[in-house]
Symmetry: C2
Subunit: 365 residues, 2 copies
């Protein structure tokens, strides 16, 4: 759809309070919008992106030139119809696509690097709310997100219950499990094991922990796909060769594919951002923030909720969505829930699943 | 049980032919035995170890001092009863516990390192058979193994059908899946990304790719456990602290546990061996070796088979064992099969699962 445009930037007028106790000064939020804001400002949808996503939902990525990550869902006449809705998507704080993160400059003119404070999903949401305040959007038609985007949607509902009429949380969870944390820890250790990481101070040195970040991405990528999907797509097929080479080249298509995913990722993502954002996800536990009871987080919420899971998603399996639905039921909230069948694992929310299109369009009304 | 003893060594009298086309000269096999060999040599059991296992089945590991990896299964009066059976367990070729592998010296006095030929599971089995020949053991009472040990057991049955009366293959597969290959490729890339790997020539340099190998082990270790088991054992429990530190230390027990697994592993394992053995596993596909039909691999086999899987094993799930069982049925083989319920994931075969003890003892007769 639209050609690439440089993101708009909004600098928060107030320091951003963080769960870690600090307040972050001079935070900039880079964001994109699609569709017109109605005169009554009642048609805004906040879209929250996933771990390695960004604000380029429905416009080309400025680095890779690839289409936006949810072009199939967002646009004129699409399930999130920009002829009707004003879609706002902001790069999360801690990110590397224009919002303040570890690669941003501090007042001393150097990058934050590891001096950047560890943030949480709730901190990301606070930044989103501050942006909405700046844009004069008091009440969202909906907040929508998949994966980490869904975490933000749920966190927004829990912490700012009057700001969104509808909450659509796809392929997500209300807390990171031990296995979720474990995979992220592997990724972080892979980055930190890279001598080019230089304890985080690699900016401007001409060396970045690309190898470590690539390994981290490879490990994570496996968790985004299903075992059955991998078998169907790759099986034991060889890559551009008739026989095994008895060496350590990428003999198998799955090896070649993973290496491509790894190296491609390093060209568009900052390793320190990867550390900070995975940490925020691992810290995520809405119940813990609300006295240990997930239902308490949503007590008295006026919003309508829709939870969507995928049967092949083993990263945030259906049981995690069901756990949220039970809490919402206990809180007396209006909630609908559907588990969709799709072969793509966790990544199903980004891919061609027509049933998801119908659910999204139907819920947004 | 028995105190640590240095392994016995056997040097093959003939070059070892390899699937890659080479023949390996002067191969040494390091092995341990438990229990007496009967005068008629009819009570021998070949035990095959897993990826990071070794010949110290039921005696302390010489490096770590820890008990043997299957002490609960092997010993006097145990399911594999060394009062009755003569148990032989050899370090696989490509390994690092005494058998010829990448850390072994070649005739030029230098370590093989990356000059070591890429081997297969069948090559490992050829070495096992050569050892049995050297020991004068013509026919095994049984060949037994879990995980990669089970691959060897199945490969031995397929390629040397007259050498074992019984084949017990636990928590294993007849071929590595795309997801299996993917996880191993992550591990290899983690090792190779470590600048201390030095293209494999790290021996004697005072630097070894411990960081990369540790990351590889961490990623692999997650696949050995079940999601439910991780949640039950670790959940989101913090490690020796009352609150999150908002940093990158191991706040969570699961992080601390994984780091411990990673660093501990580097003290007992050679990184190049890890590359070679994972490669052998990824190449493993018994059907491919036999015209693409798994049943053909076992046509006319005189052996009795027993396959065991665990319901929480997502590395080699029950479907993989069932696939082997179907092929054995098609081949007219005598086969029994049981899926056991155990919470420990793939590692169940090493842990306290009394039902497994009964199956093993019963099958060995």
């Amino acid at each position: 759809m639209a050609p690439t445009t440089a993101s708009q930037g909004f600098t928060l007028p107030q320091p951003l309070p963080l769960d870690g106790g600090q307040a972050l000064d001079g935070v900039t939020i880079a964001y994109q919008t699609y569709g017109e804001l109605a005169p009554d400002r009642g048609n805004a949808i906040l879209l929250c992106h996933a771990l390695t996503g960004d604000q380029y939902v429905a416009s080309a990525h400025p680095t890779t030139g690839k289409p936006g990550w949810w072009e199939r869902m967002v646009g004129p006449g699409k399930p999130i119809d920009t002829n009707r809705f004003h879609v706002v998507c902001a790069n999360v704080i801690g990110g590397c696509m224009g919002s303040t993160g570890p690669a941003s400059l501090t007042l001393d003119g150097r990058q934050w690097a590891k001096r950047f404070p560890v943030i949480t999903i709730r901190d990301m949401v606070r930044a989103q709310i501050a942006l909405l305040d700046g844009l004069g959007i008091e009440r969202l038609h909906a907040v929508v997100g998949g994966s980490m985007g869904g975490m933000q949607a749920l966190s927004l509902a829990a912490n700012f219950p009057d700001r969104a009429e509808r909450v659509l949380a796809i392929a997500t969870t209300a807390r990171h499990s031990a296995q979720n944390i474990a995979f992220h820890e592997v990724g972080r250790q892979a980055v930190m094991a890279d001598t080019d990481w230089q304890d985080g101070d690699y900016y401007g040195t001409g060396r970045a922990p690309d190898k470590g970040l690539s390994v981290a991405r490879m490990a994570a990528h496996i968790t985004y796909l299903s075992e059955a999907g991998l078998t169907e797509k790759f099986g034991r097929n060889l890559q551009d060769r008739d026989a095994k080479t008895f060496g350590f080249d990428a003999d198998f298509q799955i090896e070649s594919y993973l290496r491509y995913q790894g190296t491609g990722f390093t060209q568009r993502f900052d390793a320190n951002s990867y550390l900070y954002i995975t940490r925020a996800m691992d810290y995520f536990d809405i119940a813990e923030e609300h006295g240990g009871m997930l239902a308490s987080a949503f007590a008295g919420t006026p919003a309508r909720f829709c939870l969507v899971s995928f049967d092949s998603d083993w990263l945030y399996p259906t049981a995690e969505s069901r756990h949220v639905v039970h809490a919402l039921n206990a809180a007396g909230a209006a909630v609908s829930f559907v588990e969709l069948s799709a072969p793509f694992g966790h990544d199903s929310f980004l891919l061609d699943v027509p049933a998801l299109d119908r659910v999204v369009a139907g819920f947004l009304g």
